[in-house]
């Protein structure tokens, strides 16, 4: 059922299987999709026959300021004429500690995960306010509360994103734009990204989830579609933790 028919959604980031799942779900639901990826993350943008559709606009950009994001907005408006939803899913991570992290790593991760989120919110939120309605959805992380013990700057960026969500929910929510955050839990590949010698949570991560299954990209995509499709005014400002119970874990049980 094409419940997003006529709606234009911007997907910023979301590389690999996560992005493919979200993009596929939105396109199947009838959305017109503008998918923005930094130039050094081309694999999802350029992959697959799934995306051979005139409902898809691919944009390569690493936008972290008002002017750069406005250029993206203009491309979206030139192609589709409107924007109804923004999914901000940029998710850079690199293993580093507070003691050994460099300025270059700090700025790259904070820039893509937090600063870009702010200016996408400013520009696309502003466009939706002018239109009278819209939805903003941040794909965040459980590490906006739970430290990684391995990827110090990643957590900082997600903590900042969580507060952006709350601020935007107030300032944009008054003007017809709903704002949500999905705090996503461990998915395929996260064990390698976050395995820590300090925190044991990613050692055999599935064993720490009641269902013994990592979170699935397909479920994430379903949730994104739900939040974009339905009336979600009562969910404005919400954090939805999507981790299968992972962050409830603290002791091993059979």
């Amino acid at each position: 059922m094409c419940r997003l028919k006529g709606r234009v959604v911007v997907l910023a980031g979301a590389a690999g299987p996560k992005g493919q799942a979200i993009a596929s779900k939105l396109l199947q639901a009838g959305a017109q999709l503008a998918w923005v990826q930094p130039p050094d993350r081309p694999e999802a943008v350029h992959s697959g026959e799934v995306y051979a559709t005139d409902h898809l606009l691919k944009i390569e950009a690493d936008a972290q300021g008002t002017d750069a994001v406005r250029e993206i907005l203009q491309q979206v408006l030139d192609r589709f004429g409107r924007v109804d939803g923004l999914i901000f899913a940029q998710d850079e991570a690199e293993r580093c500690t507070a003691a050994d992290c460099t300025d270059a790593v700090y700025h790259r991760i904070m820039g893509r995960n937090a600063k870009a989120a702010f200016f996408y919110t400013q520009v696309f939120g502003g466009a939706m306010v002018q239109a009278g309605s819209g939805k903003i959805l941040y794909i965040g992380s459980i590490h906006d509360e739970k430290p990684t013990g391995s990827s110090f700057v990643y957590s900082l960026s997600k903590g900042a994103l969580k507060m952006l969500k709350s601020e935007a929910a107030l300032q944009l929510g008054r003007r017809g734009v709903d704002v949500h955050l999905i705090a996503a839990g461990p998915m395929e590949g996260d064990e390698a990204r976050f395995l820590s010698g300090l925190s044991g949570i990613y050692e055999d991560a599935p064993s720490k989830i009641p269902s013994r299954a990592l979170c699935s990209e397909a479920e994430l995509a379903e949730l994104c579609a739900y939040l974009l499709i339905g009336s979600t005014r009562s969910l404005n400002g919400t954090d939805i933790r999507m981790d299968g119970g992972f962050t409830l874990y603290y002791m091993d049980k059979e």
Binding site: Q64, G65, T66, T97, A98, A99, C101, D103, Y106, M110, A114, K115, F118, F119, T121, Q122, G125, G126, H143, D144, K146, P147, T148, G149, F152, S155, L156, S157, K158, G159, A160, L161, K162, M163, L164, S166, E167, A168, A169, L170, Q171, L172, R174, L198, S199
Partner: protein, 254 residues
């Protein structure tokens, strides 16, 4: 005199909350290094007051958003006092600008001082604390690390990042006898206001809004923060790390 023999570096301590912390730590016997940036006159007054208490103090002017200045500052503290036991990350900026008003330059200066500055100072003192198997890092944050401001989204984002900075550093530094905690003050009566107060655009009521939720009957004073900081800086707080203590007279509960 719980802090006798300890050396404390306090950033942004020429005035306001930082000054209050400096006075309290000095009263507990600590040797004090006061960092300031723009407020030399206020820093000199703080110096005079601490000297009058019979305590030792040095002043050091540095911009905490600049790595070379942070390194030089820590080096100067070590040159003067031979060690550093306590770091109070307090220097922060608040512009009180709304989502649509922020420029990239405004965003950067807030995040570079409020987040990167805190991180760089912690990174700079860590080797010395590690070598002595003792350290106390206290990050002065805000209730707006969890509750949105509704008037300054980037300030809130910076405090959301500081929340995770504390947790990540606590996990990483614990094995070396270094604790890392956050104090989250609400309104504190200080002698100046940072940033641009601006009009309150979403005023719900004409009655005095600001302090009617402080059930305890007053807003905070710098010494309130100072007393808690003095405890967290002491050896008696050694089992408290990674925590955040909200200091708001119950205002956030109502």
């Amino acid at each position: 005199m719980e802090l006798k023999g300890k050396v404390a570096l306090i950033t942004g301590a020429g005035k306001g909350i930082g000054r209050g912390i400096a006075l309290c730590l000095a009263a507990q016997g600590a040797k004090i290094a006061v960092n300031y940036h723009a407020s030399e006159a206020a820093a000199l007054k703080t110096e005079a007051d601490i000297l009058a208490m019979g305590a030792e103090i040095m002043l050091y002017r540095a911009d905490v958003s600049q790595r070379d200045q942070v390194a030089a500052m820590v080096d100067a503290v070590l040159q003067r006092f031979g060690r550093v036991d306590i770091l109070i990350n307090n220097a922060a900026l608040q512009k009180n600008m709304e989502l649509m008003e922020y420029t990239e330059a405004d965003y950067d200066v807030i995040m570079d001082i409020n987040v990167k500055g805190y991180w760089m100072c912690a990174q700079a003192v860590f080797p010395f604390m590690k070598a002595q198997s003792f350290g106390r890092i206290i990050n002065i944050s805000s209730v707006h690390g969890k509750r949105p401001t509704d008037f300054d989204p980037v300030y809130a984002m910076s405090k959301g990042a500081v929340k995770m900075l504390t947790r990540e550093c606590a996990v990483e530094f614990a094995q070396y006898g270094i604790t890392v905690n956050t104090i989250e003050p609400a309104a504190v009566q200080i002698e100046f206001k940072t940033g641009n107060p601006g009009p309150i655009r979403y005023k719900r009521t004409e009655k005095a809004r600001r302090y009617n939720r402080y059930l305890i009957g007053r807003i905070g004073v710098p010494e309130d923060v100072g007393h808690l900081a003095a405890f967290l800086a002491s050896e008696k707080s050694g089992f408290i790390t990674g925590s955040a203590i909200r200091m708001d007279g119950a205002a956030m509960l109502v």
